[in-house]
Symmetry: C2
Subunit: 276 residues, 2 copies
């Protein structure tokens, strides 16, 4: 395995190191970190270059890991740990060196704030470990898009629970499914609670999010396997409703981010935003 | 420094390892990863236990790093790299082993989706590296709350730009400030564009997000320094508007997540949701 030095790691990209070698002018804009290495007095140990190496994973094994890990540490930790631990088993180092607890914070849409669903936040971080920046963005965008259109929990996860195939069995009945239309925790959970008539504080809701965590980790690995086999093709396109909004609220109007793909009408009703 | 084995790391918690030693029944619910270690054929190398060690950082140094790192890799990478590289300088290993590129994915609210602001997503992951789960949640929640109430870019960042004190100088004028009332990228950027009259595609908007990235990394480190000095006290409370909504839409009604702290009226106008 090709290795880079800590100096290269700290600079973020090898390009920065090349700039540094060009002279003192380039050095002056480098982060302090890269210049103070000698003073830190730490061992100049080689690190694995990023992106870290990937090997094909068993999608269904990762789905089961994600479901279990949700109960160990929440949705964001769950999806991240499922993929990283599977890679630690399959590849070994450096995945064995990374604490999955780094993603605890993402549960409940980020410390309970209800923003980005932790399962896709954690899965996205795992994707970002093994895929370059441009393709990470493409795969993560596809993951988010798939999330907004998928009935959760999936039939596969419901079947696993019914047949006691998950690694933990908290609830062995199929759960009602709902489509969120949004990557936000608040929308995803609230719409499921509305559709199912189950309170967000109920054990069944936790089990719903455990199955969803497994589903998101599995979907991420399915895409990673396809990507490294040269077979990944993104399918998600923004909806007709979004396209209609952006036909006016695009780059020509200042008050919108043109790239946003969330469903505008979930928060902006025409009756509301166009009248007030 | 106390070290744990890879087996302990993979199990996620030492509690799982203790359960495993209790016998075959406990083993049956352990993740496959923990049971296949011997077969993976990798070196059973010791890893640094989580949370990783923290040392007091220079808040203003981290603000400058975050501003620069935004231009290297976006908001989420920027805030994360600023803190992790500062810790690599100050503590050394294991921070030198972690590729900050893992957080590229979070830019533009997650692959451009406009969900959770990448700067606080990245800063939160850095907090999660060095703080236990419960306190991470408290500090990250405070970070999100502070974000929703702070005029960005801060006066400090505007001053740094004007006086050419940042590590890179793309735009040396003070920028208009706005308060997002939301941790979401879409709301934060769109409201700033509306307030400033500057398009989201303009270089000034990029510079606004670069300054904001530095500000969020700096605020995270300010809280971490206080936490490890035993002086951290969270101040954020949900607004009167949220409290009023939750007086009915709390746990008693099924269709809401009681813990959500986002400003309800930003997406739910009473005139809309209570009439339709």
């Amino acid at each position: 395995m090709k290795r880079i030095t800590k100096r290269e790691f700290l600079a973020g990209t090898t390009k920065c190191v090349m700039a540094a070698s060009a002279g003192a002018v380039a050095m002056s804009v480098m982060p302090v970190g890269a210049r103070q290495l000698g003073r830190a007095g730490v061992i100049d140990k080689a690190v694995t270059p990023w992106p870290w190496p990937y090997k094909t994973l068993d999608v269904e094994d990762v789905r089961k890991r994600g479901h279990k890990a949700y109960y160990d540490g929440g949705c964001c930790y769950g999806a991240f740990q499922a993929i990283v631990a599977a890679l630690a088993d399959t590849v070994g180092e450096p995945f064995t060196q990374l604490p999955p607890q780094i993603m605890y914070f993402g549960e409940g849409g980020g410390a309970g704030w209800g923003t980005l669903c932790g399962a896709i936040n954690g899965a996205a971080a795992a994707i970002g470990l093994v895929v370059d920046r441009t393709n990470t963005s493409t795969i993560v965008s596809e993951l988010f898009g798939w999330y907004t259109q998928t009935p959760f929990p999936t039939d596969t996860s419901n079947d696993y629970a019914v047949h006691h195939l998950f690694l933990v069995n908290k609830y062995d009945k199929p759960l009602p499914q709902s489509v969120s239309g949004s990557p936000l925790c608040h929308a995803s959970v609230s719409l499921w609670c509305t559709a199912s008539g189950i309170k967000s504080t109920a054990p069944e809701r936790l089990e719903r999010c455990a199955r969803l965590t497994g589903d998101c980790a599995a979907r991420a690995v399915e895409m990673l396997n396809a990507f490294f086999a040269g077979q990944f093709r993104p399918n998600f396109v923004t909806s007709a409703a979004v396209a209609q909004c952006q036909s006016c609220h695009g780059a020509a109007i200042v008050d919108v981010v043109p790239k946003v793909k969330m469903e505008c009408p979930q928060c902006h009703k025409p009756q509301w935003d166009h009248l007030y």
